[in-house]
């Protein structure tokens, strides 16, 4: 593999990691809320969060394009106030990866939170801990295995993300081209050798991530 190809792998990994950082706080927050509460909006929130998992990725990409495009509600505001463009830049890549991996993280984290026995949290409260302290010192540590499994799964999904990415970030070599996009491009350009090489690299990374995730999920029980 050439230097450019290794750079491509590096770019994909960086984007996947960055998207993880972006998706963790909201993902954990939503998962925690779904695990602990039974409010009115619960079913709607559950459905919204699961949507990227079941809709065609291009549809998610389309929604992101509408929202974050230069004339979209969020993209327009960013462009006018901060002079910042999202679509067709690396930011859109992070956005696409985060959107597609959010459902996986939320599902895994929610299960992990639900499995934390409430008695520990209650006892922590009798010892004077407020909700934030209970979350960070009791709930999160006790749920960390399941959450880590979810993070690995989300990471693997990010690395393989294509449909939403190509819609909202395009396939700009050096700027938004991730591994899956590069493979697609190679296929379009009749470069099967490159396509299979990159596919192999993808497969190895994904396999390692999913294997680690499964191991973490299993040893819990």
């Amino acid at each position: 593999m050439s230097h450019a190809q290794w750079q491509l792998v590096g770019f994909s990994l960086r984007m996947a990691l960055l998207s993880l950082v972006v998706v963790l706080p909201p993902g954990l927050a939503v998962a925690w809320w779904l695990a602990k509460f039974n409010g009115r909006g619960k079913t709607i929130l559950e459905t919204l969060v699961t949507l990227p998992l079941v809709l065609p990725p291009v549809v998610t990409g389309l929604v992101l394009l509408e929202l974050f495009g230069r004339h979209g509600p969020i993209g327009g505001w960013l462009h006018r106030t901060l002079g910042m463009d999202v679509v067709f830049t690396w930011r859109a890549v992070v956005l696409a990866l985060a959107s597609m991996s959010l459902p996986l993280l939320v599902r895994a984290a929610r299960t992990a939170f639900e499995e934390v026995d409430a008695k520990y949290e209650q006892l922590a409260r009798t010892l004077g801990a407020g909700e934030w302290r209970v979350f960070f010192t009791i709930t999160l540590p006790l749920a960390r295995r399941g959450i880590l499994a979810g993070i690995l799964l989300a990471f693997a999904r990010s690395l393989g993300e294509f449909g939403a990415t190509i819609m909202v970030a395009g396939n700009i070599p050096g700027q938004t081209t991730t591994l899956p996009l590069a493979i697609y491009q190679a296929v379009q350009a009749d470069d099967d050798g490159l396509a299979w090489t990159l596919a192999g690299v993808s497969a190895v990374i994904a396999f390692a991530a999913v294997l680690a995730s499964e191991r973490l999920s299993r040893r819990r029980s």
């Binding site: 004339h71 463009d85 067709f88 395009g170 050096g174 379009q188 350009a189 009749d190």
Partner: protein, 255 residues
């Protein structure tokens, strides 16, 4: 005998199916031909009774699909290179290939942008994203790159390029305003009301754009395909293409 009426019904159905004169012709055509071909095919279907089925995409994608064995009767590509590729692989019916149409390139922008006096303006800092068809597989993109290279603008432009899978995707990108400019065929710009032609590249300045039409050697419906191909090459069809802004042998330049 209650069996007789059923036999009669079954028999007539069978006859209808086997003796039906209507054939289905499959055409793999460049995306830029979408509207014009659909229009002409509608007319043809009424006249001939045959059915035309299209697969529109970038010529590069189409040629790959055919190489992989996709069943098609006719190809109608936007550049010679991809047709050459199929010809070299012996997939085209020799002697059937014809250059039917020409086209020219235009630089389009969202409607609120100022007009351009020269393509060099694309290299300005204010222009951040330029949408092109993927230069490796989409003819429109390849043509655009050739043109810009000829003009000495390609090195400055390359970093701004956002590649798309086909010319219609380029058009859509400019329509949404998410890119500053794009290069499409003049015919595509005519279709859309949401873009503005900022600069028309003269036919003589730009690369020669040819639309070859050919039959495939393993066409499922060779007779019907030949009939449709002749129709497309006829002057009646030429009028239909001209309406959409294409250059035909009888009208080699945009007025």
């Amino acid at each position: 005998m209650k069996l007789l009426p059923s036999l009669l019904v079954a028999g007539s159905l069978w006859l209808t199916v086997t003796l039906a004169p209507a054939a289905t012709v499959t055409v793999f055509a460049a995306a830029s031909l979408t509207d014009s071909l659909k229009d002409l095919a509608a007319t043809y279907e009424q006249q001939s009774g045959d059915q035309i089925v299209f697969n529109f995409a970038a010529s590069g994608v189409l040629s790959r699909q055919i190489e992989a064995g996709a069943p098609a009767d006719l190809i109608f590509f936007a550049d010679e290179a991809h047709a050459d590729g199929l010809e070299q692989k012996g997939l085209l019916l020799s002697g059937s290939r014809q250059d039917v149409l020409g086209n020219s390139l235009v630089i389009i922008t969202p409607p609120d942008h100022a007009a351009m006096t020269s393509p060099a303006e694309l290299t300005n800092a204010v222009c951040q994203h330029v949408a092109l068809g993927d230069v490796k597989s989409v003819p429109c993109g390849t043509y655009a790159k050739t043109y810009f290279t000829q003009q000495g603008l390609w090195p400055a432009m390359a970093p701004k390029v956002i590649p798309f899978d086909n010319v219609r995707a380029v058009l859509a990108a400019v329509e949404t305003g998410n890119v500053d400019a794009g290069v499409v065929y003049a015919t595509d710009a005519l279709i859309s009301k949401k873009v503005k032609v900022a600069y028309a590249i003269a036919v003589t300045d730009g690369p020669k754009i040819n639309y070859p039409l050919a039959l495939l050697k393993d066409a499922p419906e060779p007779a019907a395909a030949r009939k449709f191909a002749s129709f497309l090459e006829s002057s009646a069809a030429a009028g239909g293409f001209k309406k959409y802004g294409f250059l035909t042998p009888s009208a080699p330049a945009v007025p």
